[in-house]
Symmetry: C2
Subunit: 447 residues, 2 copies
Amino acid sequence: SFRKAVAIAMARLAVLLLSVGVCALIQPVRLLDNGLALTPPMGWLHWERFVCNVDCGSDPENCISEKLFMQMADVMVEEGWKEAGYEYVCIDDCWLAPSRDAQGRLQPDPKRFPSGIKQLARYIHSKGLKLGIYADVGLKTCEGYPGSYGHYDIDAKTFAEWEVDLLKYDGCNMPNWTLYAEGYINMSRALNQTGRKILYSCEWPLYESSHQKPNYTAIRQYCNQWRNFEDVFDSWRTVQQIIDLTSGIQKQIVPAAGPGGWNDPDMLVIGNFGLSKDQQQTQMAMWAIMAAPLMMSNDLRDIDPQSKELLQNRRVIAINQDPLGMQGYQTMKANSFEVWERPLSGGKMAYAVLNRREIGGPGFFPFTAAVLPSKKICFPQCNVTQVLPKYQELGVQTSDSKLTFLVNPTGTLLFTATPVTGRPSTQQDWVWPMDFEKQKKGRDPNL
Amino acid sequence: SFRKAVAIAMARLAVLLLSVGVCALIQPVRLLDNGLALTPPMGWLHWERFVCNVDCGSDPENCISEKLFMQMADVMVEEGWKEAGYEYVCIDDCWLAPSRDAQGRLQPDPKRFPSGIKQLARYIHSKGLKLGIYADVGLKTCEGYPGSYGHYDIDAKTFAEWEVDLLKYDGCNMPNWTLYAEGYINMSRALNQTGRKILYSCEWPLYESSHQKPNYTAIRQYCNQWRNFEDVFDSWRTVQQIIDLTSGIQKQIVPAAGPGGWNDPDMLVIGNFGLSKDQQQTQMAMWAIMAAPLMMSNDLRDIDPQSKELLQNRRVIAINQDPLGMQGYQTMKANSFEVWERPLSGGKMAYAVLNRREIGGPGFFPFTAAVLPSKKICFPQCNVTQVLPKYQELGVQTSDSKLTFLVNPTGTLLFTATPVTGRPSTQQDWVWPMDFEKQKKGRDPNL
């Protein structure tokens, strides 16, 4: 509706004021003008599950080849992934031939991609999906294939000619770290100039952050998503690490996220071998709260029904894809519990309660709206819906209601609250990460 | 058969010669003369899952109370646990009243154990199961309840009067670490003197090892099992840590294990929240290879079918309970794979192949008997049976056979090999951990 659209626009304006500052009003906010990633991109990326497996001789089903991406595309259409919103089929490192062609263009390994990338893109497009490709801003990719350094324009043009829809742009083997900003900006401009809408996935802050604080205002202007931290592995250890690093710098990175540009905590590893059922739910819930790109890395041809159901959970995806596009943040830590909140469109709020304890049985989390930093949402009343571990309508609550939730060790409770009566909740009712410390001190100690 | 019994006895003698040295022939090998734990004890222990939950008011179903142990005993009989071999129902810390009774005896918390321990033991016995209890060699238990320090005789007598069958003896709050040996020996003697067969589970080496190298020859003389490392949690991190610490000191601890006394890597946490399916299989397989006591800590009243099936897997339990009673050891590490071997009775051998990689898909492990340190077992032929991830007869193999196994990241392949023709394999064909380095150097580098 028009009213809703205006409300969202106003909210977005508030976000921009808070996030990119007054400068944003003077110069164009986004220099990468592709209109993409208005909600976090969703798709599949080969890296975590298939890494740099180039041995098609002895492992033809799992090596990095055009067949692998075609099969994933087939399954994505047949098994409900596309319908759930997963759209990009993405190649990572190790697709390239060892050298550029006679015209100086990147070329795929001829044995593993005999039809060429353009043909692969057409196949993917024929399925109603989009193709992602990988390159590196430096001299070589992380696995030693040709890098794009000094070839930004020609590589962007090549990708556009091939009708590629996304570029994951890695940052290995840069001659000097001070060149990262320039390199990432150059490729952004080169992609923009092709006229083709190519989603631009950067690793700029990841590679820069060991040398200086990344400038997220700039990064947001040039990238559709950007990695801040090291690779996720098929392990709870790395999922936890990413969650902790995110909350550790949330004041810097949360304001940078919004329609068109997102913090990227890396792939979903649900459906593989290293996460328990509860840990899988935690990754899914937290990637939704963090407004993260949902790029699965798993074998969709052979995935257990439980993982599939979780990855296709419409209610969790709806939180991730909320059109307001505000990233959530951690607002509380107590007794091994962590509470994260994400403001959603329509004055709703999503909450994730993580039980970080790795011993004992399920932990009691006493929910009273009054203890939540965004407590006004339930004043006078709110409607509470549990989304994970399973869907359950919990009905109308007031700020005095007491609900007791049980949260499994390493698991997460995900729920939403919607204001039901009285004045609609506004941006001012929400506690921003940057104000959280202040608010905490000011709050009634009895709460 | 008599032949088999003689063979086993001879093999055991070889173990004793290797493990406790010549002294063993001069003085009695075991001073704790209860005839128990001829194979690793099996049962259930409350700690990891129920910790020190004493809040029966708000959590009556999960608090440490007589009801909890009675319910577990009921389920153990009803749901096939007893039949699979799980026998001991064990209380851990937090069962005690805050002080001793007027006669100086330990007493249970009267609200949570209103019928008393003797009554509870009788209930457990009526189910054909055994009751384990917990105390501490120091001034207080780890959670601050009365310790046994200076009360060894009266406490042993109390436990015997209550008809308790197992004592887990913790080591918190000792006035001085030099007192551990004396304390653990005193309780061993006190238990022995009661005349009741009480399985004695020590934490002596764990508490001593930060100060000096534990004397495993002595420990084996006084304890039926002993903890070497810190507590397991509901986490892959701690399971891995225990596996790594075990291989790190295997030359010290493996020879100490055998009928009557076992290294205790702590509880099985399968059926809880923190381990993936593959990680659960790894714990089960490795606890079998390590000849570990199988003490589950989980909620048997509410356990998923997959975990239950794994914990009750007869073939894995048979490896754990092998009558020869030799603990397995790590014999190989290459390309993120680890190979562990355990000699079994009848000249058989059990193998565990762990994939420690936490990225990518299932890893190829090329099995040729020739690469195994105990390769002679397949010379000229052996019969190979896969036990985990699922049971499969792999038929007769020779030392030249090539089998390719796929092992999931964080998962384990468990199989056995039985010599089928030619001379029976003997102790001399096996590579002992203490000889492993030597053997490795001497072996054909092409293998």
